[in-house]
Amino acid sequence: MIDWIEIGRIEDIPRQGARVVRAPEGDIAVFRTQDDEVFALADRCPHKGGPLSQGIVHGKRVACPLHDWKIHLDTGLAVAPDEGCAASYPVKVLDGRVFLSLKVAARAPACATG
């Protein structure tokens, strides 16, 4: 059973951009792609902790603003050949309302959380 938390409307997040959700476990970056897909990752780059929410979103990737690591939005994994990952959080959109769960996706237990 997942506890979904409503965090806002999809148009509150700019296309090819992100917004931050302040959570007890740390900041979470909620991204919206050009195609209106929404993803949520811990707002910490696995490299040096840069705020991914501030990066440039392109395709399903974000470029960290500090040292330009690229992170896959869907998995939180760094784009090869870099290695590392940011924790990925379940997120869904219903009738334009965006819901987030604070439960880290099971497939990436080793990922850094916020």
Partner: protein, 812 residues
């Protein structure tokens, strides 16, 4: 059902194309590969080190069997294709194996030319082309003593050197008077011969082979002049010919090679050809760099993206004989219209010759010290105007006043493995060399991705390229001739800028559609560049795309390592008042700014400001009369001044007021990169105007204007542009210079490399010699400024882009 692609030729050209294709369209084709050799794809360039015993076959494998399997490629080794049935669209191998195709790629390479002399078919007479030849040579060296290599070109000398290393006595028979006559001039060739003779090779120059003699196996070589050389092994290395037998038999149009167009298609549009077997614009190539460029284009068309064109390559050569450094590129013989710069030091074993025409480098021969080969090659490819470099050109890049980086460049080969190459990312030479070897990296981009070396400030790029060249050896070429803006496109910066204006492309999606972008929404390299190009091309019309800006420009503050921001208000010309300083102090205290710093550009920097606080702090600064200093942007940063004649006993003009006027004119403009200005009141130059992008040095008679300086990564003193009389002149020249730079430089290219690339003569011509042109440039700058001189801080303090500064939600 997938389309079928059949590749004939399992060598470097064919597999490089397949690799590029898999990157672009991994699922489009079912791929079948035929190779005549019983092996996977290996790096043919490195056969020489294998022969010399410096490498093993496994070291030079490029694609393992697992790679073919992982990518679902059906590989037929040891199956020479002998027939193409173009009507039925199928190929047939010698053993009867057939494969049908929708598209066919011919990459049959070349065959060594064997002199048609009597005895040429005797056992023990071989070529130097593939691994089987190398094995035959290694085998012979175990049993026999005497080898003759016919041909003193690149390949022949490498074979001779390898055989000598394996213990054989080797004589090289060469028809012309000098060795490697296609790559070397007489002087360099003589030095090379001396060095090789000292190592034990023997040479017969002007030697013409009449007959190869022997009973059952080769025993000797008989020359036209009657001399007879003992030989248990004869290696023919007199040249290669494009292998067109198969293509010809299939009725494809061939001249010296299979004739292809700029999209690498033969006269049958279903049949592509690439590599050493092709003839493109009358040219055939036998080196690896052009073939990689062709592979990129070919893959692009096979993937149906259809935007790349191959337009020919400029090539360079290096001899892979350990301990001998030799580099040649371009037209090094010269003619009536060229000039030569020559340096020769016989006892040090160094010879350098550069051929220039119209102050541009056309050719180079380097012997003994080839560290700058890549640099010269770059200057050639880019057609850089070398007027200003001439006095120091022969001494190499390290002698260009590259303070702080100077000497390491010349000694890259001699550097120990633990020497740090990339200071930004802490990458040592050993790490880079290991990555190049282990991961089979070919390009600068590969090395950047895998090691991070030269991926930050880029100042060590030349070193990394030198390492690539020395590690890979062979015909490594630093990069392709045409440098696309980013991997999303095949187009260069210049092509894109021309298209934006020419085709009236007015938005980023317009550019993506109009120029066939490979990605749906670009990347973080191209979008900021396009945003800037569009903004410059269509002032007042283009709507800035915030999401295509780097964070600093999106939120008008400079992100720091901990995610906080720095705030630097503009202080016009660096002159302030007690009242201004008091407001700054009060604001800093009000917001508990952790660090206040005086910058090198005469500004006050508040560090450690949290993002949410930015609009409020800006609001207070705004009320106190401050505007944004744009210290975060590719924009006009600061105008640094000295106090000038108002106070200084040496001052010749009012440099402070001049600086303030310049800043009032130029502030707010977005530029290809950051731009710094300075005005010094006399030639003592206390404002350091001669290391700025645009510097003014006041003199008694007026103002000296200097351009293209830089005090950062690579220190570069400005070039003197001209002297003018009045402050109005200074403003006009400055506006025109800034506009020329905005309109023509590549995004992220500082004025220093830009001026070096286009040449000072060009900038002078546009600004100093063409008054109407200069005025028009200045007018365009003033026009664009109407739309850019709006303080971004004041607007954000009033609520613009509010979403950037507040969290979407707080979860308790």
């Amino acid at each position: 059902m997938k389309e079928r692609l059949v590749v004939v030729g399992n060598g470097m050209a064919g597999m490089r194309t397949v690799e590029e294709l898999l990157k672009l369209a991994p699922d489009r084709y079912a791929i079948t590969v035929f190779g005549a050799e019983p092996r996977v794809n290996y790096n043919r360039i490195l056969l020489s080190p294998v022969l010399a015993g410096e490498k093993k076959f496994d070291d030079i494998v490029l694609n393992s069997e697992a790679w073919y399997a992982e990518n679902g490629i059906a590989l037929h080794t040891n199956k020479e294709v002998v027939r193409i049935d173009r009507a039925a669209r199928k190929v047939v191998a010698k053993d009867g194996t057939e494969a049908t195709y929708d598209r066919l790629l011919l990459a049959t390479g070349s065959t060594p030319f064997m002199l048609p002399v009597p005895g040429a078919t005797l056992p023990g007479v071989i070529a130097f082309r593939d691994m089987a030849d190398v094995e035959a040579m290694l085998e012979a060296s175990r049993t026999y003593q005497h080898a003759v290599v016919i041909g003193g070109g690149l390949l022949g000398l490498e074979a001779a050197n390898g055989l000598m290393k394996q213990g054989m006595k080797v004589t090289v028979v060469h028809l012309p008077e000098t060795l490697m006559e296609r790559q070397l001039d007489t002087a360099a060739a003589r030095m090379l011969r001396k060095e090789l003779e000292a190592r034990g090779l023997q040479f017969v120059l002007k030697g013409q082979t009449k007959e190869i003699i022997g009973k059952g196996r080769v025993q000797g070589v008989l020359l036209e002049d009657g001399r007879e050389l003992t030989a248990d092994l004869v290696v023919m290395a007199v040249g290669i010919r494009p292998n067109v037998t198969l293509a010809k038999s299939a009725g494809l149009y061939c001249e010296r090679g299979v004739v292809v167009n700029d999209t690498m298609q033969s006269y049958d549009p279903r049949v592509y050809a690439i590599g050493e077997c092709v003839q493109h614009r009358g040219q055939v190539y036998g080196l690896v760099a052009p073939l990689f460029e062709q592979a990129k284009v070919c893959a692009n068309h096979l993937a149906r993206i259809g935007i790349g064109r191959y337009e020919g390559s400029m090539t360079s050569t290096k001899l892979k004989v350990t301990g001998i450094d030799l580099f040649s590129a371009g037209d090094f013989t010269g003619n009536d219209t060229t000039e030569e710069l020559v340096m020769q030091d016989a006892s040090a074993g160094i010879y350098k010759k550069l051929v220039l025409a119209n102050n541009r480098l056309h050719g180079a021969v380097l012997y003994g010290d080839t560290v700058d080969g890549a640099w010269y090659f770059q200057l050639m490819r880019d057609g850089t105007d070398v007027t200003d470099l001439r006095p120091r050109l022969l001494y190499g890049q390290a002698h260009l006043g590259n303070a702080g980086h100077g000497d390491i460049k010349t000694r890259v080969a001699a550097m120990p493995d633990n020497a740090e190459i990339c200071g930004c990312n802490g990458v040592c030479k050993g790490t880079i060399v290991k990555a190049i070897a282990d991961k089979k990296l070919f390009t600068l981009e590969d090395v950047r991705a895998h090691t991070k070396a030269s991926s930050s400030c880029g100042s060590c790029t030349g070193l990394v390229e030198a390492l690539l060249a020395s590690t890979m050896g062979g015909d490594y070429s630093t990069a392709t001739k045409k440098k696309p803006l980013c991997p999303c496109t095949e187009h260069t910066h210049d092509e894109i800028r021309t298209a934006i204006v020419g085709q009236k492309l007015k938005t980023i999606p317009d550019v993506f559609r109009g120029l066939g972008w490979k990605t749906a929404d670009g990347c973080n390299k191209c979008r900021p560049a396009l945003n800037f190009y569009l903004l410059t091309a269509w002032p007042g019309e283009y709507v800035d795309d915030n999401q295509s800006r780097f964070i600093n420009e999106r939120v008008h503050a400079n992100i720091q390592k901990d995610g906080t921001y720095s705030v630097i208000p503009r202080i016009w010309g660096g002159e302030t008042t007690p009242a201004e300083l008091r407001s700054l102090a009060e604001i800093a205290e009000r917001y508990k700014v952790p660090t206040v710093h005086i910058t090198g550009g005469q500004r006050v920097d508040f560090l450690g400001v949290k993002k949410e606080v930015l609009p409020a702090i800006w609001g207070d600064l705004s009320k106190a009369g401050f505007v944004s200093g744009h210290a975060y942007g590719k924009a006009i940063r600061t105008v640094k001044t000295c106090v000038g004649q108002n106070w200084c006993r040496f001052g010749t003009q009012d440099s402070t007021t001049m600086g303030i006027e310049l800043e009032k004119m130029a502030w707010g403009a977005w530029m290809p990169h950051k731009v710094k200005l300075a005005v010094s009141g006399c030639p003592r130059n206390c404002a350091e105007a001669t290391i700025k992008d645009f510097g003014v040095v006041c003199v008694d008679s007026g103002y000296e204007l200097h351009v293209g300086g830089n005090g950062g990564v690579k220190v570069r003193a400005t070039d003197f542009l001209c002297a003018v009389k009045t402050p109005e002149d200074v403003l006009e020249y400055c506006a025109a210079f800034l506009q020329l730079y905005r309109e023509e430089a590549h995004y992220l290219e500082r004025t220093a490399p830009w001026v070096e690339r286009v040449g000072l003569a060009y900038v002078k011509q546009k600004l100093a010699e063409d008054a109407p042109g200069r005025k028009a440039l200045a007018e365009r700058f003033y026009y664009a400024q109407r739309f850019s001189q709006v303080d971004p801080w004041a607007r954000r303090a009033q609520g613009v882009d509010k979403h950037e500064f507040i969290p979407l939600k707080q979860i308790a």
